[in-house]
């Protein structure tokens, strides 16, 4: 009898659940987040689904950034594409060029009659995903920018003042010398070497990474990161690597493990690494602005973002796009954004979320978390610091990784390596231009 009642209750629940699912329109969202970020993302989805009855967002993890983009593309070719696809900033040019496969966010919002004000977003974040005539193509989701993490205990241990000025690379160089002299085994390490030490370095010193405003003004762009500023920086890093002051750990964020374990004194990494460092570091740490080279005209300019945005794919019903619009509006609402920013270290993508975070006293309670935002918005972006819009950029980054490894191992000088990277990358840009003519 008891068994019977459980079964019938279960059956009733299933019937009720299925009717409610049938009534609501399903919105598919493919993303690249696991772990803590995946949990926070799932929480947003649950919150949205509970807040209304018309739409159900179904979030599916499709692997890392590259794999997610690839899954979206394969699905589009098979006619099975999701409504929303998370695409990392590197894939932006690929998506923008895919007219016919995407449905721009401004269009989705306009057709759904949703309230949408692009000016609510932080300028540099918005600029990355907006056409030159001001129309937003994808919705910024997670954006971060590189900062300098300092292991204060390592500084004290080496007899250095942990509060010493580390605002310029000259001063960092002096600190590295002192750390090395004190016998420290890992004075400096980095994550995402191309992003931090070439892409952001270029923007931060207001020199071009590529011609045509880093690709914003046309597909006929050419790489230009073999200029004197970049060569000087990479050569300095190469010299530090030779002397054991800069320890290379890998192409992605492998260096993070070394820093979080307390082995390294300085670490250049995304502001979104904050949550991980805070959770794992058993030493006093501090976030500082990314250093710049003193004496370079216009430095420090502003840094640029990394991260991902949400692209709406074409080929779905108007009713479903209405749901997409509602969800995107929910995601960019102030409370959701402020919470995301505070939990992850990603930038608050709207001005309102930044203001709310400040008003809540978060920055005072967590010193250093405001630095990323200040570093990005300190000066209005120039043509060199709006961002990058380059085709085949994932492959170009791989080329840059290879050439930088040649500098770290002492096989090539910075000039030779960067010249070679530019030349090899340009060949890929020409192919991309041809494919999207």
């Amino acid at each position: 009898m008891r068994r019977f009642s459980t079964t019938s209750a279960l059956a009733a629940a299933i019937i009720m659940a299925s009717t409610s699912v049938m009534a609501a329109t399903e919105i598919q969202w493919w993303h690249a987040f696991t772990g803590r970020l995946g949990d926070l993302l799932a929480e947003q989805v649950t919150q949205f689904n509970a807040s209304q009855n018309d739409y159900v967002v179904v979030a599916t993890h499709k692997g890392n950034y590259s794999e997610t983009l690839n899954a979206g593309i394969a699905a589009f070719r098979a006619g099975e594409q999701p409504h929303l696809l998370m695409v990392f900033e590197v894939g932006t040019a690929t998506m923008m060029a895919a007219k016919g496969a995407i449905k721009p966010v401004y269009e989705v919002m306009a057709e759904a009659g949703a309230k949408f004000d692009p000016d609510a977003y932080l300028g540099p974040v918005k600029g990355y995903y907006t056409t030159t005539d001001g129309r937003m193509l994808s919705l910024p989701y997670n954006s971060s920018t590189p900062v300098l993490y300092v292991n204060r205990d390592a500084f004290s241990g080496a007899g250095l003042d942990p509060d010493m000025d580390l605002s310029t690379w000259q001063k960092v160089g002096a600190a590295l010398d002192a750390l090395k002299a004190a016998g420290h085994s890992c004075p400096l390490t980095t994550a995402w070497q191309s992003w931090v030490h070439l892409e952001n370095l270029s923007a931060y010193h207001n020199v071009p990474f590529a011609t045509k405003e880093n690709g914003f003004a046309g597909l006929n762009t050419e790489l230009a990161f073999n200029g004197p500023v970049q060569v000087r920086h990479i050569q300095a890093m190469g010299d530090w690597a030779r002397d054991g002051k800069f320890i290379y750990a890998g192409r992605r964020n492998e260096g993070g493990a070394n820093f979080r374990a307390g082995e390294c004194a300085l670490f250049t990494e995304s502001s979104a690494g904050y949550a991980g460092v805070k959770a794992e570091a058993k030493f006093a740490f501090q976030i500082r602005p990314l250093p710049y080279w003193e004496g370079v005209d216009g430095a420090p300019q502003n840094t640029i973002i990394g991260g991902a945005s949400l692209w709406t794919l074409s080929g779905h019903d108007a009713e479903e796009y209405k749901g997409v619009a509602a969800f995107l509006n929910f995601l960019s609402s102030t409370d959701v954004q402020a919470k995301w920013h505070q939990n992850t270290g990603y930038l608050p993508i709207t001005l309102a979320a930044a203001a709310q975070t400040k008003a809540q006293g978060f920055y005072q309670a967590n010193p250093g978390t405001e630095i990323a935002g200040m570093q990005m918005t300190g000066k209005p972006p120039t043509g060199n610091s709006k961002g990058l819009r380059l085709g085949s950029f994932d492959q170009i980054r791989a080329i840059i990784d290879e050439e930088l490894e040649a500098v770290w191992s002492g096989d090539k000088t910075a000039q030779v390596a960067l010249d070679s990277a530019v030349q090899r990358g340009n060949a890929l840009l020409r192919r991309f231009e041809q494919a999207n003519r």
Binding site: S66, I73, R77, T94, G250, A261, Q395, A398, S409, L428
Partner: protein, 293 residues
């Protein structure tokens, strides 16, 4: 000495090979044909438009000195993987063949690594040799050796070779053991009575009689090293440092599935197909002559 079975008429023989032909056509000729066709175009990733470029993709590839260098990397990698996996398997098989007690236990244990997927094998080896937390790199550090496959090209190559060969040892071991056990004991015993020691017996009797197995494994292992190792490379080195471990098939994967450059990826597949086809023909034409069946 060749035996030939003669059929009357065409119908029955055709019917008998038809299933195999159908499988080959559907799973090999069709996709291979598609690859050849795609290699003549530069498509955009979403398949919205594509441009006919003739042999442009091939020109682009062969004009790239880094792509040409990848042939040498592949040759070194494939030879090493084949040599290591077959050599280790042969040693183990010879030893296991002489076992009297517990032979089946040893055999079962030796077969296990074959069940591990290449990508997982890659991660396992990466953990052991991780420059920071790896067990083996830590012991090497105690011995005063600074293991750093992240920047040292030779070490990176060594690591991907060992990781790729490891799972393959089991497979080769099975075949070698079966081959060894099919060699008639009487032949070996006769040689032993004539005073031939183990090494002489192995060199003059066992190894030649094992040659059909060795030849089969040589072909299969080279094909494995060429085509199925990108999982290991992807997890351990991603083709680095610099281009030290970028083998041809990894570049096909990276350009096609990460870079979305499907035209170049298709052209690379075609080149790879030609290379492996040629290699196999050479093996059958020249090496098979030395095989005693």
């Amino acid at each position: 000495m060749e035996k030939r079975v003669t059929f009357k008429g065409w119908l029955l023989p055709l019917l008998l090979v038809a299933p195999q032909l159908a499988v080959t056509a559907v799973f090999f000729f069709y996709p291979a044909g598609q690859a050849v066709w795609q290699s003549l175009f530069i498509p955009d990733p979403f398949g919205l438009r594509s441009q006919f470029v003739g042999l442009g993709n091939f020109e682009f590839l062969l004009g790239d000195s880094y792509y040409r260098a990848s042939f040498v990397t592949t040759a070194v990698f494939s030879s090493l993987v084949t040599l290591v996996s077959m050599g280790a398997a042969l040693c183990l098989a010879v030893l296991a063949d002489r076992l009297i007690k517990g032979a089946s236990t040893y055999r079962t244990l030796l077969i296990w690594p074959y069940a591990v997927a290449p990508a997982v094998a890659g991660v396992l080896w990466l953990f052991m040799f991780n420059t920071r937390v790896g067990v083996i790199s830590w012991y090497l550090g105690l011995l005063g050796y600074d293991w750093n496959h992240v920047l040292n090209e030779g070490e990176a190559m060594g690591l991907v070779v060992v990781a790729s060969a490891w799972g393959r040892v089991s497979y080769n071991f099975l075949f070698f053991l079966a081959g060894l056990q099919s060699i008639p004991r009487s032949v070996i015993e006769a040689a032993a009575i004539d005073g031939a020691r183990f090494w002489t017996r192995f060199r003059t009797i066992v190894f030649p009689l094992l040659s059909p197995t060795t030849f089969f494994l040589l072909v299969v292992n080279i094909v494995y090293a060429f085509f199925e190792t990108f999982g290991v490379i992807h997890t351990i080195t991603s083709g680095g440092p610099q281009q030290a471990t970028t083998i041809l098939v990894y570049k096909v994967f990276a350009d096609g599935f990460v870079g979305q450059d499907l035209g170049s990826s298709a052209a690379q597949s075609v080149i790879l197909l030609i290379v492996v086809g040629t290699l196999t023909i050479i093996q059958f034409k020249y090496i098979e002559r030395k095989v005693h069946y």
